[in-house]
Symmetry: C2
């Protein structure tokens, strides 16, 4: 498990295509690739971009070690000239991206790579792997945190994550999207985020009886004393024993600052309400009642609707795997090729039997349009780099498919912000990644720019992603040109 | 992305419990933990154990670096004595496990850890993370490979995997369970498995036209010439251009050894049948017709039922994430504590509101019982270590819940094999992990020990996992003793 040079973390076809470009065309031809996605996971109204910091690390570390070259040679697919080229490979292009924690919508570029075609092609797979994973988990987490209302949500999924990285970077994404802590110690160490956790059933079982186990734990950790109450019988044994220990602490004058119970099985609505009654009856009205066990946004919403007395949620499997929708469909598509003679980008389009797989051509950026009053998002506008807008003019938006659907924004009613920022210039990173807890704060503000209707977990209001007039006409010309051929 | 000491890849509570054991009890108390799972993923009839090699690497590398100790100190949770203990920490226990590639069933231990409680507790999270992930993907892959009949299945999921490890170790598990290759170059390098792939839509789009792109590719890679046919229009453009190139190769005397088309969109049944007709009409009857695009075992079965002319399958997202069931519910439960005085293991049981969460106590192993004639599995028998069986005697099996359901196996009609093997003895690895392609061969043989009815993708026949008479009585005694308390 020691290899961490991720340069070979790529599909073989990236390398066979690279070799093809090397021998068959001008390998320095500059191209533009867009990474974007087609549908929000889980039927959500938006997604949260995440993973950029790891993409930056990957790009900065790109290099073929001698053993990588040896391995590629051993496949018999690659020629020596090309392998020599790889030995000196480094990324020299430009990258633009939407910052981590930004709310994003389908079909808009999250990352744009402008580089010689061989470089731009190589990075496809790893870039998608990283962005897809972290954006998926951030988006799922935001749904769970939304369902929990103001209650704290802790990420507890490491044991069910799809391998070590899924645990580590999944927890990172979960923190970005609003978890208050993770059980994952390595994630805590790597990203300076709060780590949480108390004890498991094995702690209880390793003592002669539950009361001894609780007492021992309370003595060791009096200031963070959450006792797991369901090892034997929650209402008959766990809660009474926990209450007994809290009483003993109170009698001994130990301050009960952060204390309570956790339940990991049974009917959490019923048990939590009963537990709350029992705790209240003894004066422990501020006890934490924490629940885990296959929670997700649907179950949390449902438990809250039933008046469950839970105020802290430990969410594992369904968060860390995004169980209902375990993939984020990010793709990476060629958008333009630079003409050597003119220096201009020639837009490229990918047609498809599946209409939703048709791409947006050209060198693009994204403007986000906000209501000046509410600061909520009105729409996103994908346009060509170089187009200029003036908030003092009116702005006509139209649906790129149902083009008769138009919205005219009056001057002074809206503001615009370009949401893609430069990350690499000529192979040099020009972006400083914020710390995870800073991204978390930024993400919270980003969520405030969404209408409640877009945050609804089921059948949310869709935010419009429109094309500029210029881009729409260019795309239409390319589509029609192909069909006339 | 550089940290690969995975010692802190653990839930915080493992460390808080360790500290608890350190201060509150004999930290050298020897315990037994079992890792097992409760339900086969995807309603499958079995699972395939995988990930042991990575568990071994993890255990062998377990150590707290000075910066790990510093980090733990910085949390304010841990005391100096305990941190000093961690600085010298190493694993000194025994581990038994079912070899990778073995077919396994719910409730039987896949891994058994016998170690001082602090050590056994620490390894829980990472051990589960690794085994859960790889067993999940191996099981999913076996379903997909089964649906594909004899056709080759390639693993193409890296870009949609949940992070780099999910791609790397997911591809490893996919190879174990029968894929013929993976697109993942890093996996190929690390595990010496075949890597596969040709080109993407961007290759086609980067040339002035499709025919030029195909010709260029064919010239570069004549001996592995699979052309992606759906960039513009599969039947009107892609297939005719591919046929034109194959004709040119034939006319130029280039041997057409491995050639054909790949389709990544549209109706794969219709398009493949039309493509097959067009290829056949020109004499290209042995062309590979490869398909990708959101395939899984259900869609492959359905396409085959409709007579799709596809003979090669590239499966990505749904395999690498195990989309319909993205987690393997492996758990790790205390089974026994060694009595210092007698040296005997005292069995431990975990009760639960949820009946299926009740554990099997004691120091256990698994015997697999085969039909002597067919060599198919009759049942698995979980028993206590030290119980002996003789194939020359009759063997009475009974259902552990519906105990009146009995089966008497006559002498000479069955064979038995213990399927757990020693992995670590006193902290030293005593097991040699086979190479992935060897495990793949072993797994193929393992699948032959299942009846077809158990391999059915929907509603398969369940293989019995019984408890020995001795174990069943011990468990019953413990359950009743608790309820009498």
């Amino acid at each position: 498990m020691s290899k961490r040079n991720l340069t070979l973390l790529t599909d073989l076809y990236e390398l066979t295509m690279m070799q093809g470009y090397f021998y068959a065309k001008d390998a320095n031809e500059t191209v533009i690739f867009d990474a974007f996605y087609r549908d929000n996971p889980d039927g959500n109204g938006f997604a949260i971009a995440a993973g950029l910091e790891q993409v930056i690390e990957y790009i900065e570390d790109l290099h073929f070690d001698p053993e990588d070259i040896d391995y590629l040679r051993s496949t018999g697919i690659f020629k020596e000239d090309f392998l020599e080229y790889l030995a000196d490979f480094k990324f020299t292009g430009d990258i633009y991206a939407v910052p981590e924690g930004t709310v994003v919508f389908p079909r808009e570029p999250l990352v744009k790579v402008i580089a010689p075609i061989m470089q731009a092609q190589l990075v496809e797979t790893a870039l998608l792997n990283i962005i897809n994973h972290q954006s998926l988990i951030a988006t799922k987490t935001s749904r769970i945190v939304h369902a929990a209302g103001g209650d704290g949500v802790m990420e507890f999924g490491l044991r069910r994550a799809q391998g070590p990285d899924a645990g580590i970077y999944g927890a990172r994404a979960a923190m970005i999207a609003g978890c208050i802590g993770t059980s994952n110690v390595l994630c805590g160490q790597m990203f300076d985020v709060p780590v949480k956790g108390t004890h498991a059933h094995s702690w209880i079982m390793s003592f002669p009886d539950e009361l001894t186990a609780f007492r021992t734990y309370a003595k060791l950790y009096p200031s963070a004393c959450i006792l797991l109450a369901d090892t034997y019988d929650t209402l008959k044994s766990g809660i009474p024993h926990a209450i007994q220990v809290f009483k003993e602490m109170r009698e001994a004058g130990i301050p009960l600052t952060f204390y309570g119970i956790r339940m990991d099985s049974g009917d959490l609505a019923y048990l939590s309400k009963e537990a709350k009654k029992m705790l209240d009856a003894e004066g422990f009205t501020d006890a934490v009642i924490s629940a885990s066990n296959d929670l997700d946004e649907g179950l949390i919403s449902s438990l809250k609707n039933q008046g469950a007395a839970i105020n802290s949620w430990g969410v594992g499997t369904n968060l860390i795997t995004s169980k209902d929708c375990p993939s984020f469909g990010g793709v990476y598509k060629l958008a333009a090729i630079k003409d050597k003679a003119t220096g201009k980008f020639i837009p490229k389009i990918k047609l498809s039997e599946n209409e939703e797989k048709i791409t947006n051509p050209g060198n693009k950026t994204i403007y986000r349009i906000y209501s000046r009053d509410s600061h909520k998002i009105i729409a996103d506008l994908i346009c060509l780099v170089g187009e200029t807008y003036d908030e003092n003019n009116s702005l006509l938006l139209f649906d790129p498919v149902a083009t008769w659907k138009k919205t005219l924004l009056a001057p002074g009613t809206y503001t615009m912000k370009e949401i893609m920022v430069p990350i690499f210039k000529d192979g040099v990173c020009v972006y400083h990644s914020p710390k995870v807890m800073e991204i978390r704060e930024y993400c919270k503000k980003e969520l405030d720019t969404l209408w409640d209707e877009t945050k609804r977990l089921v059948n949310p209001h869709e935010v419009h992603v429109d094309l500029s007039n210029e881009l729409w006409h260019m795309k239409t010309r390319l589509l029609e040109a192909y069909h006339f051929e």
